[in-house]
């Protein structure tokens, strides 16, 4: 056991060295003449406009949350799957209940529209969103 994980630990160290050595070789053989233009941020030849560290869409956060729930679920399922055949029906029923609770969660998220990358179901839609909804569903939606 300690050998297996010791091997992994050494693999990590060796991996770091194996990345570092080519970088060193590159430092020796590659040219190095920096100019301010070369070191500027690449924006297709335009001068870069402001910092790139800006706010980005909250949908990524929602995806991360859903991922977290299901990944924890996967981790819980692994030990159960290993002993599943020995435990038989009882374990299956118990895990089905656990899974069903999560599936209800998935159905809720689905119904809420959080799985859609582009959300059309905005309650108080303006402009093109409003137009898109009325075209899509053929009905009017609430106004702010």
């Amino acid at each position: 056991m300690y050998r297996d994980f010791g091997t992994i630990f050494l693999f990590i160290l060796i991996g770091i060295v194996l990345v570092y050595v080519p970088l060193l070789i590159q430092r020796l053989v590659a040219p190095k003449n920096d100019t301010p233009d070369k070191l500027s941020t690449y924006e297709c030849g335009e001068e870069s406009e402001g910092s790139a560290w800006v706010q980005f869409n909250i949908r990524f956060y929602v995806i991360a949350l859903i991922f977290l729930i299901f990944d924890v679920e996967v981790v819980f399922l692994f030990p159960w799957a290993v002993v599943f055949k020995d435990l038989g029906l009882l374990a299956f029923v118990e895990m089905s209940i656990f899974l069903l609770i999560l599936i209800v969660g998935l159905a809720y998220v689905w119904k809420k529209g959080d799985l859609d990358w582009v959300k059309y179901r905005v309650k108080y839609a303006h402009g093109r969103y409003r137009k898109a909804i009325t075209e899509k569903e053929g009905k009017t939606v609430g106004t702010p």
């Binding site: 050494l10 040219p31 941020t41 560290w53 991922f67 299956f92 899974l99």
Partner: protein
């Protein structure tokens, strides 16, 4: 286990156990690195040539001064590698330098340490852990951290978008992949890579090889879910939105050049191999011969394992050059609305199947 065999083989193993252990691991690790490097060169060459055949265009034909006589452009990947190492290493002024430097290390190490648990043959597995497949799945997701670091630290809008998309995509597709693996573990009752392969020896009704993909209809579906999710985790076309050249320049790797870029590239090819190897181990019988009892010795095991893995890699290349890129909303909805429900159904299906059939 290779490390254990080496330790037993060393004459001074009992006197300096730690030294022997370290030496044994280094002796195992260097061939793995060589293998990754050579395999990547071959894969790049294959990718160029296959794409040329598939799209009816001209592939590499000859390369370099004085080397032009070489047939079929075989030296093209070598020229690529030389070019990458001779390129100037650029770290943008505005970048977060520490994270920028760290990112390729994390991505490559994540791919590299997965190789420690891959069963290349009956006796060729560097660390035969009892949690092998779980370990590989866990380590495989390390690359997300590297990619998101690369995207964030470059201080470039393309990089940030690419990194965020890449992260969203990889973590999303990890769920169906993990759930498909769970439906396999339910059948085998072990997480050890060798244990899973040993479960698949023999035949079904004396005809089909006893591979898990043929075990029941649900595991048949699970294979496709796992493999497609795997392709998505590698950020390969048709799932290459994170580095879509025509819209995001090069995604998270826009600001990288030279060797640092080369390591991202290398890790992508290494990930492809890891995904194929897991698919082969979990579904296609690993080193078992397709015809039971035919060429089934330990030497041939390596041959079968490589043949199956490289066929799956060929399949990935085939995908890349025939399918157009998905849109980002299509990509996410396929994952969450098709693959996830299907893989949940698979778990119930495999459970009921093994309770009823045995």
């Amino acid at each position: 286990m290779t490390v254990d065999n080496l330790i037993n083989w060393f004459p001074f193993g009992t006197e300096w156990p730690v030294l022997t252990f370290v030496t044994a691991v280094i002796i195992c690790a260097l061939p793995v690195f060589l293998f990754i490097a050579v395999y990547a060169l071959v894969a790049i060459y294959a990718e160029l040539k296959i794409s040329s055949f598939m799209q009816d265009k001209v592939g590499p034909m000859g390369q370099g001064v004085g080397l032009h006589a070489w047939k079929f452009g075989i030296l093209q990947p070598v020229a690529d590698a030389l070019k990458l190492i001779l390129k100037e290493d650029i770290i943008p002024d505005l970048a977060d330098k520490k994270l920028f430097v760290m990112a390729p290390f994390i991505v490559f190490v994540g791919a590299f340490i997965s190789f420690a648990a891959l069963p290349f043959g009956q006796n060729i597995i560097i660390a035969d852990m009892n949690i092998g497949i779980f370990y590989i799945l866990a380590v495989g997701s390390l690359s997300v951290i590297g990619i998101i670091l690369a995207g964030w630290s470059s201080n470039n809008k393309w990089s940030l978008y690419g990194g965020m998309r890449s992260a969203a995509q990889i973590i999303s597709y990890e769920i169906p992949a993990g759930l498909s693996i769970i439906s396999i573990v339910m059948l085998t009752g072990t997480l050890s890579m060798q244990g899973i392969i040993e479960f698949q020896s023999g035949t079904i009704w004396g005809v089909l090889p006893n591979w898990i993909i043929f075990n029941n209809p649900f595991s048949f579906i699970a294979f496709f879910i796992f493999f497609i999710s795997g392709v998505a985790e590698c950020n390969r076309t048709p799932f290459d939105i994170p580095e879509a050249e025509s819209e995001l320049v090069a995604g998270a790797f826009t600001e990288y050049s030279g060797m640092r870029y080369a390591f991202f590239f290398l890790s992508e090819y290494a990930e492809m191999f890891v995904i194929s190897a897991i698919a082969v181990t979990a579904f296609l019988g690993g080193w078992n011969s397709p015809i039971s009892g035919f060429m089934n010795s330990s030497g041939w095991g390596v041959f079968w394992f490589m043949l199956k893995s490289l066929s799956l890699i060929f399949l990935m290349i085939w995908f890349r050059w025939t399918l157009p890129r998905l849109r980002v909303d299509q990509l996410m909805s396929i994952c969450w609305k098709v693959f996830l429900p299907f893989s949940l159904v698979n778990i119930f299906g495999v459970g009921i199947w093994s309770l009823l059939v045995g």
